[in-house]
Symmetry: C2
Subunit: 186 residues, 2 copies
DNA sequence: ACACCTTGTGCAACTAGTTGCATAAACCGT
DNA sequence: ACGGTTTATGCAACTAGTTGCACAAGGTGT
């Protein structure tokens, strides 16, 4: 139940239309809580009927027109409640680690190329995060909002750093293995 | 679509009943692909009708009786195919990072305790991984199966190490902040 | 003026995962 | 022999997320 709260956060940062939200999810919030535009529109509808947000008055609220939303006091209260509430971490699921474990029984054939591809993806993501850091968090400023947001970005940077290092190691190991044959043939 | 493959991997490592699988998911595969017993039973049924696994013959296949499964050649082939196939990484979702970002707009009140709790959880998990490493991967042996499985465990260790460090830093930062008040009051 | 592309909003159907409960046998104390 | 706990299997309903498509308005080229 976090998507509504992701949207509330984004809207508090800046009132937006569905499409603007979608764009912002793609390059910011979506890094740790992704959502498609369909999800976002659906959720905006729910949040509006629940009285947590409202559409900003627009001239022609017809189809094909931008419709911006802002957070109402009830929405802010709900977000504060949710932020403070204790929550258990959800179990992670990582298909790549699973595949490596599978490869231990059925062989590593064909795996290497995809490991390399993942390595590149993570390298690219890491570079992007570093760009954002340089742009949005120059050495000087450290307001309390900035400090928290920087902390979040730092998590992203550290995670991508981990992945690139781990994938590098995994690739070296896989390359050093006998080959694609199962280690325990049927 | 990874649960069936997680199960196939587990069954190839060792044929098991539904409950045994559930237990093994809880302390091994589940670290990176968790599943409840309901999911597992449902999936075992599907895999059986699809001809990828079969129930090992048992005396009394009635309710309340253990029913073990083993992987058929078709199942092994499917797992090998899946392992080798290129897959895009699924977007992660991390509620804790989202909450931190929310806290930047609605304040950090109440957050600290839960950060501390998460830190402890990750420390405990890290300790458990280190135990497993000591037990299952002593310095000597390094068969190719072992090497791959060790790599997976290493990812777990490194990830938990990251989280404990990051949470430590986050706690320090949050504690140093003015208080629980919103940084940008309504 | 018409065809085409982009922007913006949205519904419907599907898939994967979660939660809550039901059932039955076996084992265990009294 | 009875009642409670553990082991073992499973169904049904729900929630969250994904995929595929539809539709309208506005701009752009011809």
């Amino acid at each position: 139940m976090s998507l509504p709260h992701a949207i509330l956060t984004a809207l508090l940062e800046k009132p937006s239309s569905g499409l603007e939200l979608t764009r912002r999810f793609d390059r910011s919030i979506g890094y740790f809580w992704s959502a498609t535009h369909q999800q976002i529109y659906r959720e905006l509808g729910k949040l509006e009927t629940d009285g947590l947000i409202r559409a900003l008055p627009a001239e022609q609220p017809s189809r094909g027109q931008k419709k911006s939303y802002e957070v109402l006091p009830a929405g802010r209260a709900e977000l504060a409640r949710w932020t403070a509430a204790s929550q258990d971490p959800k179990p992670h699921r990582d298909a790549l680690l699973l595949r490596l474990r599978a490869a231990a029984v059925v062989g590593t054939a064909g795996l290497e190329a995809d490991l390399r591809r993942h390595l590149e993806l993570h390298q690219r993501q890491l570079a992007e995060y570093r760009e954002i850091e340089k742009r949005d968090f120059p050495p000087g400023r450290d307001g309390t909002e900035d400090r928290l947001r920087h902390l979040v970005l730092q998590a992203g940077i550290d995670l991508e750093t981990f992945w690139t290092q781990w994938l590098g190691r995994a690739l070296a190991d896989v390359a050093a293995l006998p080959g694609g044959e199962p280690t325990r043939p049927a």
